[in-house]
C-alpha cells in the first residue's frame, strides 16, 4: 500500500517536473491563444451575432471562447504552467547549487578520456615544482585554482562564472513574478473611463466592468485643444488638467498638460488622454442667413437637430456641426455645419457651411446665403483612468527575464583542470555554452601551457 501511494505521488511529481509537460503546455498555450485572435472578445458586435448560427453561439459561449483569456480552462493552463515551473525548479535547483558550490575538483578517468579539449606537457623538474609553477600559470592566465592531492597526482581546478548556470532559473522565476504582478493588478487595480467637459470637474469615473467609482479628489479640465496636420489627420490632442483637493488646486498638479503618450498620475491613479468630442448638452450654434439680393443678415441661435422656419416659409435645420472639418472636407479647415434647407414646396437640400470660408458659402447659387458662426458648445476630453499597483512587479519580472536570458544564452561556465603527475601534466577544458568560443580561449592558454619550462 505504502509503496503504491508513494509511487502515485512520485509519478504525479514527475509529471509536474517533466519537460514533456513543458513542451505540451507551450504548444497548447500557443494553439489555444489563436482562438481569441479570431473570435471577437468581450461584448459581441450585433453583426457578428447575426451571422453566426445559434448553436455555434451557444457552444462558443459555453466554452468561454468569447472571453477566452479569462476562461477557466485558459487560467487552468496557466496554473499548470506555473506548477510545472515551480516543481521543476525545486527538483533541479539543489543539484545546480551543489554543482556550483562543490565542483569536481578531481578529474576522474572517464572525464579525462572523454574530454574534447586537452593538451599535454612534459617537464623535467620535480612534481612539486611543476605544481607550483602551474598554479601560478593558471592563476595568471585564467583564475586561481583549487589544489587537491589525489593518488600521488595534483589536480588543479579553476573555473569562471559558475553562477551563470543560475541564469535559466532566473528566467523561470521571472515568469512567476510577472504572473504575481498580473494577479496583484487584477485584485487591487482597476480601469475605467471619464469624460470631462472643458471648464468642469469630476470626482468619479466609470469602471470598465460597470459602476461609478469615486476618485477621492476632483479633476478639473481647464482647457482642451486639438491640432491637425495639413492633411486633416489629428496631430495632437491636449487637455490641461488640474487636480483639486477640497476645491483647491494641488501644487504640482495644476495646469498639467496631458496628451497621448504623456499621462498624468496622482495618488497612484493615472489619467490617459484617449478621446475627445463636443459636449452635446448646452451647445448652441450661430447661423446667419443673408438674402443674396442684398437684404439684412439675420442671426439665429439653434441647437443640433432643431429646425427654424424663416419668414418666407423656408425651413432650415442644423444637422450637425464640427469644430474641425478637415477630415470630412479635405482642403477646408475650421468649424463647419451641415445644414438642410427646404424652400417652400421644394425638396430639401443639404450642404456644408464653413465659418472660415464665407466665399464658398456664397458660391452656393441660391437666394439665401447660410453662414456658420461657430458655437458656444464646449469640448469634452475623454480620459482612460487606471490604477495598477502590480505593474512594478511586472516590470521587475521583465527586467529579471531580460537579465536571465542574457546570462543563460550568452555567458558560459568555463572550467579548466590541470592534472600534474611526475614528469608531465595535462590540461583539460570544458564550457557549458558556446564551446566554439571557449575553444579559442582554451587553445591560447594551452599553447602557452605547452611552452612552459619547468
Amino acid at each position: 500500500m505504502a509503496t503504491k501511494e508513494r509511487s502515485f505521488f512520485t509519478s504525479v511529481w514527475d509529471f509536474f517536473c517533466s519537460l514533456k509537460l513543458t513542451l505540451s503546455l507551450l504548444i497548447s498555450l500557443a494553439l489555444t491563444s489563436i482562438i481569441g485572435t479570431i473570435l471577437p472578445q468581450g461584448a459581441l458586435p450585433p453583426e457578428y451575432i447575426a451571422q453566426i448560427s445559434a448553436t455555434k453561439l451557444q457552444i462558443y459561449s459555453k466554452l468561454g471562447f468569447f472571453d477566452m483569456y479569462h476562461s477557466w480552462w485558459f487560467i487552468a493552463l496557466l496554473y499548470v504552467f506555473s506548477m510545472n515551473l515551480i516543481s521543476c525548479s525545486i527538483k533541479r535547483l539543489p543539484h545546480v547549487f551543489k554543482f556550483i558550490s562543490e565542483p569536481s575538483l578531481v578529474l576522474g578517468e572517464g572525464m579525462r578520456n572523454s574530454a574534447q579539449l586537452k593538451k599535454e606537457l612534459s617537464f623535467s623538474g620535480s612534481i612539486e615544482k611543476g605544481k607550483d609553477r602551474l598554479v601560478e600559470f593558471l592563476g595568471k592566465e585564467f583564475s586561481t585554482p583549487v589544489i587537491t592531492e589525489h593518488n600521488g597526482e595534483y589536480h588543479l581546478f579553476a573555473q569562471k562564472t559558475a553562477w551563470c548556470r543560475l541564469g535559466v532559473y532566473v528566467v523561470h522565476l521571472s515568469i512567476l513574478i510577472i504572473f504575481i504582478g498580473a494577479i496583484i493588478g487584477s485584485l487591487f487595480g482597476y480601469k475605467g473611463f471619464v469624460s470631462i467637459v472643458e471648464g468642469s470637474s469630476v470626482n468619479a469615473f466609470e469602471r470598465h466592468n460597470g459602476g461609478q467609482m469615486p476618485l477621492g479628489f476632483e479633476v478639473l479640465c481647464e482647457k482642451f485643444n486639438v491640432d491637425f496636420y495639413a492633411n486633416g489627420s489629428p496631430k495632437e490632442f491636449r487637455s490641461v488638467l488640474t487636480v483639486l483637493e477640497n476645491g483647491k488646486p494641488v501644487p504640482g498638479h495644476s495646469q498639467v498638460k496631458v496628451i497621448v503618450n504623456q499621462p498624468m498620475t496622482y495618488k497612484g491613479i493615472t489619467f490617459y488622454q484617449s478621446s475627445y468630442g463636443q459636449a452635446s448638452e448646452g451647445g448652441e450654434h450661430y447661423i446667419t442667413v443673408t438674402p443674396r439680393n442684398g437684404g439684412a443678415t439675420e442671426k439665429f441661435t439653434v441647437r443640433e437637430g432643431f429646425a427654424v422656419t424663416l419668414k418666407d416659409g423656408t425651413t432650415f435645420k442644423l444637422l450637425e456641426a464640427t469644430q474641425e472639418v478637415r477630415q470630412f472636407a479635405p482642403g477646408f479647415s475650421g468649424p463647419a455645419a451641415r445644414i438642410e434647407v427646404t424652400r417652400k414646396g421644394a425638396a430639401p437640400q443639404t450642404f456644408i457651411s464653413f465659418k472660415n470660408f464665407p466665399d464658398v458659402n456664397a458660391q452656393r447659387g441660391d437666394a439665401l446665403i447660410f453662414g456658420y458662426e461657430g458655437t458656444n458648445a464646449r469640448m469634452y476630453t475623454g480620459l482612460q483612468v487606471a490604477k495598477d499597483p502590480g505593474v512594478w512587479v511586472v516590470w521587475l519580472g521583465c527586467t529579471l527575464m531580460v537579465i536571465g536570458i542574457g546570462v543563460a544564452f550568452f555567458m558560459s561556465h568555463k572550467r579548466i583542470w590541470v592534472v600534474v603527475s611526475k614528469g608531465h601534466a595535462h590540461i583539460y577544458g570544458n564550457a557549458s555554452k558556446n564551446q566554439a568560443g571557449f575553444q579559442i580561449q582554451f587553445e591560447e592558454i594551452s599553447e602557452k601551457f605547452q611552452h612552459l619550462k619547468i
Binding site: 519537460l19 513543458t22 513542451l23 507551450l26 504548444i27 498555450l29 500557443a30 491563444s33 489563436i34 481569441g36 485572435t37 479570431i38 472578445q41 483569456y69 498580473a182 480601469k191 496636420y229 495639413a230 492633411n231 489627420s233 489629428p234 496631430k235 495632437e236 490632442f237 496628451i259 497621448v260 503618450n261 499621462p263 493615472t270 490617459y272 488622454q273 484617449s274 482612460q384 483612468v385 487606471a386 495598477d388 505593474v391 511586472v394 516590470w395 521583465c398 527575464m401 531580460v402 536570458i405 542574457g406 544564452f409
Partner: protein, 284 residues
Amino acid sequence: MSSSMLFNVTTFTYLISMLAFFAFLASKNKSIGLAGSFIAYAGLIIQTVAIGLRWKESYALGVGHAPMSNLYESIVFFSWTIVLLFAYIDIRYKYRIIGAFVMPFALLGMAWAQMGMNTGIEPLVPALQSNWLLYHVITCFLGYAAFAVACGISIMYLIKTAAESSSTSAPAGGLMSMFPPLKVLDDLNYRAIMIGFPLLTLGIITGAAWANYAWGTYWSWDPKETWSLIVWFVYAAFLHARITKGWVGKRAAWLSVIGFIATLFCYLGVNLFLSGLHSYGSGG
C-alpha cells in the same frame, strides 16, 4: 537624390546579389560568391543611406519622425535587418552560401514594398508619437530578421537531408557539396534563434511598457500582442526541446520554419486578416 530612388536601387542591388548567390550555387565559383556578398553589402549601405534620407525628408515635410511608422516603412526596415544579420553571419561564420536562402527574403520584402505599397511619408498620429515606437520596432524587427535567417538556414537543412537520403550514394556530389555540413546548419539555426529570442522578448516587453505608458494597460490581448506571444511560445518550445530532449536536426529545422510562419502571421497576417490596435494595417 531622393530616398525613394535609392530604395529602388537597393531593391535592384538585392536582386543582383540574390542572382549572384544562385550562380554561386550552380557554378561553385568562389569569386561569384564573393561578388554576391559584396553586392549585398553595397545594397545594405545604400539602404542605410536611403533610410536616413527618408528620415531627413520627413523633417523637411514638417512631420519629422523615424521611418518606422507604417507598413511600407516597417517592411523596408525588416529587409534592412535581414541583410544586416546575413552580413553578420557571413563575416562571423564564413558560410556565404546562406545568402542564397536569406537574400530572397530581403528582396521579396523590398520588391513588395516598392511595388505594392503607398510609399508616401505620413505624419504620425498621436498614438505613435513616442520614443517607445523606436525601441519597440527596432527590437521586434531585429528579432523577426533573426527568425527569417534561421528559417532560411532550416530550409537549407531540410533540402540537404532530403537530398542525402534520396541519393544513398555519395553525399559529396552536386549542389549539396556547396551547403555547409548538416551539423553546422543545425548549429547556425540554433544560434540565429538565440539571437532572435532575446530580441523578441525585448520587443514584447517594450511594447507592453509603451502600452502601459500610453493607455495604462500593459497587456490587453489584442491580436497582435497575442500573436507575438504565440511566436514566443513556439521558440521557447524550440529552445526547451533542443536543450533537454535533443530535438536537433530535422525536427528542430521544422520547428524553426513553423516559428517563422507564425512570425510572418504576427507581422502581416494579423493586419491583413484580423483587426486590432496596431497601426500598420492601414499602410497597404
